[in-house]
Symmetry: C2
Subunit: 294 residues, 2 copies
Amino acid sequence: MHSDVSFALWSRERQTRIEGVLDRALAAPAGPAAHLHEAMRYAVLGGGKRMRPLLAYAAAELTDARVDAVDAPAAAVELIHAYSLVHDDLPCMDDDVLRRGKPSCHVAFGEATALLAGDALQALAFMVLGQGPGVAAEDCALLGRAAGVAGMAGGQAIDLAASGRMLSAAALATMHRHKTGALIGAAVHLGARRGRALDPQTGAALDRYIDAAGLAFQVIDDVLDVEGSSIALGKTAGKDAAQDKPTFVSALGLAGAKAEAERLRQAAHAALAPCGAAARRLRELADWIVLRSS
Amino acid sequence: MHSDVSFALWSRERQTRIEGVLDRALAAPAGPAAHLHEAMRYAVLGGGKRMRPLLAYAAAELTDARVDAVDAPAAAVELIHAYSLVHDDLPCMDDDVLRRGKPSCHVAFGEATALLAGDALQALAFMVLGQGPGVAAEDCALLGRAAGVAGMAGGQAIDLAASGRMLSAAALATMHRHKTGALIGAAVHLGARRGRALDPQTGAALDRYIDAAGLAFQVIDDVLDVEGSSIALGKTAGKDAAQDKPTFVSALGLAGAKAEAERLRQAAHAALAPCGAAARRLRELADWIVLRSS
């Protein structure tokens, strides 16, 4: 898509595109496991900002990758994200009944089916990624690392252990680098890896961008949990305080958290300075991450 | 290892080998997610027959693969199996407190950590597989398919829906082709894919072998659930009847189930007839699957 297309149009086009890719990956429920299949579709389709796919498509523009080469990794990271939401909402975890504006998966399908739906979505992520054109085994390893104990699942464990404790902004940053930053990093790198090889300078710039944009996303999530409504967010607002979770708002105050998000937005832009015009969509995504209202 | 080595020695050597591979893949717990890391090690190490890794190593002999090329796929299938046991034992699934002769993971570490340990073990499986020498993205897709809704997770969903119902032996076979057969098939094919390319005849022979040996495994599992003790099995015996689950014993009677297992053992041997001496370990594994006492 030409560079004179607005971010609103570009992102809408990519969101529509990934919705189709995910719909095809989750073929219509049939056969003896149809109920599970239906729960998987429920958890993935018709909701979500698709931020991770957008990051993959945006990063791919840096290396002149073909858009259709990005579909598989973009879908894979979204499937991992969707599974993590299903499991996070389970009674033994956050015990939340509202997600993406609908009853949580376990409310709609029962706890056992939700557990299996999350499990099967994680497996599907690797199946979709592994079937993608030009994908290498190292790409699968990269996603596995980002999803596992050194990444997302590890971050969730740190989060669990932190409930009811006061954490410094630095300790919070460590937690979120695992919990959300690792998968955001996988989205960016898997997208960028679909085109020509990255020079080391651009690779380092992307890592700085991931760190800043990933943390900014979480800081704004914490702000929205305080300022947003459940209807606008599509998930239960005010949950962090109710569950006594340490957040950037509890660590820095509301104004301090907003200032930190703005600082991180600028840091994301600064990180991309060596990347020129090809990083336009990544810059716009950093703005969107901080300026969004849901 | 030379073909004059007994099965007992061969399997012990491979079990020791895979234990080391798994131990290295699950590096010592450290850092902020150490508790999760410890739960993962607890769920995987120091127990289990390692049947799936043995099948991978055995199948690799058919294509003259190097043993060290099989380590990654052998570990990957065992990590998938181990995660499935952790999730199956959770209160919202089978709610079992005993596994591999120890308290189940959620009894030892709590439900939330057990959920995350299973999730992180699945991610680790793909990370280990993707980092293996000579592994292709298609291998990751193959494992993802076997673990997902069309395989293991789908079979578990069928199993859930079948509780309290009477199933025919044919319907049971469909369930178990998903629930255990798919991952057993992945173990065999991922092992065989580490050497020279399979000719179509050998590929078809392996598929018949997988079907027979996989079902035989499940039939004997059902027999042992009736005849075995919890101490010998390392898991709760008599669970199927207590949970009113349809089994091959409930469908065929105890003597009928044993006869069916013997028929399947012979079918596994017949399947391998075109494969010659290189299939020796696969034949021995079919015998072991049916003649085992735990």
